[in-house]
């Protein structure tokens, strides 16, 4: 990152390798962690990467000294999320991997990511998806902002940057159920984006070839200044005691409309005491 000019934006995109939601997903019976077969780059993280690439393009493009770094943590296979990000357009990648990370809850995950970002940063902007599609707790971005003492702009449905004398300022829009709000924050900041913000691009042949030359830095816990019991189960503040697949819903009655299906529906609802 030393070669980037001082005015170039340094953007970190957190990406995660998650089980593909198109297939059945499982929790392992042995250690109650996610089974990561059939895994892909989290669909929701593609919006964060696309937002980073669009910001770079809006502010001078490749020649302006900006740098987009795809960052992940997880077992050896998790690097696939970074590789895919490099094909789509990230400039370089970082992979934190260590057996001790297994079983980390949100607090331990955010602790490891905070240490990692401090080690490979500084960054002007940290971008994440709105949630991982597997853990789905949405806790990690907020906890990361808290640990790094950064302004937190979560669930951004739009995102713009304006350069100024005192540095960059970001403007975002958030949609809530009953109101929309506009947000402003100085950089550095952490932003999570929704699936409404853009249409993620696909990697093209040129991107796939270019990715082969891009660097991925692989780091262990000790490289980021943490010890085994800072993370994983030992470093977590919650514990999973049991996990069981829900019994599948059994199929009920299916009828074909013969002109009275609306009435039969009301009969069914009345029978279920749902009226």
């Amino acid at each position: 990152m030393d070669e980037a000019p001082a005015q170039g934006l340094r953007i970190a995109v957190l990406v995660k390798h998650v089980p593909d939601a198109q297939f059945d997903r499982h929790i392992s019976g042995d250690d109650l962690t996610t089974v990561r077969s059939e895994s892909i780059l989290s669909e929701l993280d593609e919006y964060a990467l696309e937002a980073a690439l669009q910001l770079v393009e809006a502010h001078g493009g490749a020649g302006a000294g900006h740098r987009v770094t795809a960052i992940t943590m997880g077992p050896a296979g998790a690097v696939a999320a970074v590789k895919k990000s490099l094909q789509i357009g990230a400039d370089d990648g970082v992979h934190l991997t260590d057996d001790a990370l297994n079983g980390s809850d949100a607090s331990a995950t955010s602790k490891a990511l905070a240490a990692l970002l401090q080690r490979v940063g500084p960054f002007d902007l940290i971008l994440t998806g709105m949630a991982s599609t597997d853990g789905e707790t949405s806790l990690v971005p907020a906890q990361l902002a808290e640990r790094l003492a950064l302004p937190q702009v979560t669930f951004a449905a739009s995102l713009d940057l304006t350069p100024g004398d005192g540095g960059w300022t970001l403007a975002a829009r958030r949609d809530n159920d009953t109101y929309a709000e506009t947000i402003e924050a100085p950089l550095p900041a952490l932003v999570s984006v929704t699936d409404q913000i853009n249409e993620p691009r696909y990697p093209n042949f040129k991107g796939i070839m270019a990715a082969k030359k891009k660097q991925i830095q692989v780091l262990s816990l000790s490289d980021v200044g943490l010890q085994a019991d800072d993370v994983g189960r030992a470093g977590s503040w919650t514990t999973v005691e049991a996990a069981a697949p829900r019994p599948p819903r059994s199929q009920g009655i299916v009828i074909t409309d013969e002109g009275d299906a609306g009435i039969r529906l009301v009969d069914f609802l009345a029978g279920q005491k749902l009226l």
Binding site: L139, V240, R249, G252, V254, I263, L265, L274
Partner: protein
């Protein structure tokens, strides 16, 4: 006895159902005190008091609500410290989860979201992988911080209204924050919120831009209107109506799915509903695999007929 701090941020004219659920749950766990971020009138405070709450903590400055999440998290952290609470209960919205997340880091305490059941020893039950797994988990360090799903715990009848004592909490807003610079209210539909609705009528691609028949049925049933991602992406209905993996997860008593194929994305948001009814022209739609009552037919004839029948029966 354990002190249970319940965080309320609604500050409407009266307590919302989900807020009464939180206060009721709190009452089963210990002595309930309340932290209240927004402005509230006397009737609201009396409502809080009717749950036996004797103390309400308020921030000493309205500025906590001008910044995103960080201000309320700073306030709530102090309220936990001052009250000596061992359990902190919040709602389950995105913002509530984020406030819980930051309070957790500040207090070095574990956070469990999406709680649907709670044992006496504070083992919490939640659904993972969009309802396909049931997971029981516990907070092992610090204050037990739980965000609780609406519609899962019973809201008990409160006692007589009484005025709780207000305690001002000094709050220091962190220096680097995101500020809220503007706010536009969206038009009010008059229907219940999706997360709280007992009945939801949801439409997808098959609705083809016309949610009218769904709205009529929802109104006849006192329900809310939801949508699949295909329908919100098409711009037929507000994005906030989206149910599914990237939208809301709901578990109403009755979910009526109309013109939605029921791909895994959508199933993720609704498969924990108590009763599922599906209407689709395509007999091979995956939604029929999880429906308690399925109708292969045209939603534009079936829904109006059902609405008319409900009205006819005077229900």
């Amino acid at each position: 006895m354990t002190t249970v701090l319940v965080f309320l941020d609604h500050a409407g004219a009266s307590l919302a159902k989900s807020e009464r659920e939180l206060l009721s749950l709190g009452g089963t766990l210990g002595d309930v005190v309340v932290a209240l971020a927004g402005d509230a009138d006397q009737a609201y405070l009396d409502g809080v008091g009717s749950y036996g709450v004797e103390e309400v903590y308020r921030p000493d400055s309205g500025a906590v609500s001008d910044v995103l999440v960080a201000g309320k998290a700073a306030f709530l952290t102090e309220a936990v410290r001052v009250s000596g609470a061992g359990i902190l209960l919040l709602g389950n919205s995105h913002e509530m989860k984020e406030i819980a997340a930051r309070v957790g880091v500040r207090l070095e305490s574990g956070v469990i979201t999406d709680v649907v059941a709670l044992d006496g020893d504070l083992t919490a039950t939640k659904a993972d992988f969009a309802g396909s797994y049931t997971v029981s988990c516990r907070v092992t360090t610090g204050v037990t911080i739980l965000t609780v799903k609406p519609n899962t715990f019973e809201a008990v009848e409160a006692g007589l209204p009484s005025a709780p004592r207000e305690v001002q909490i000094p709050v220091e807003i962190p220096p680097a924050v995101a500020r809220i610079t503007g706010r536009t209210d969206k038009p009010v539909s008059g229907r219940p919120e999706l997360a709280e609705a007992r009945v939801i009528v949801a439409g997808g691609r098959g609705v083809d831009g016309n949610f009218g028949p769904l709205e009529d049925l929802a109104d006849a049933l006192g329900g809310a209107v939801g949508a699949s991602r295909a329908a919100t992406d098409a711009g037929w209905i507000e994005h906030s109506a989206q149910i599914g993996q990237t939208g809301k997860t709901v578990s109403p008593q009755l979910y009526i799915s109309a013109g939605i194929s029921g791909a895994i994305q959508q199933k993720a948001g609704m498969q924990t509903s108590k009763v599922i009814v599906a209407i689709n022209k395509d007999a091979d739609s995956p939604v029929f695999e999880i429906a308690d009552f399925g109708i292969i037919g045209d939603l534009f004839t079936v829904l109006p007929q059902a609405t008319e029948e409900i009205r006819k029966r005077g229900l």
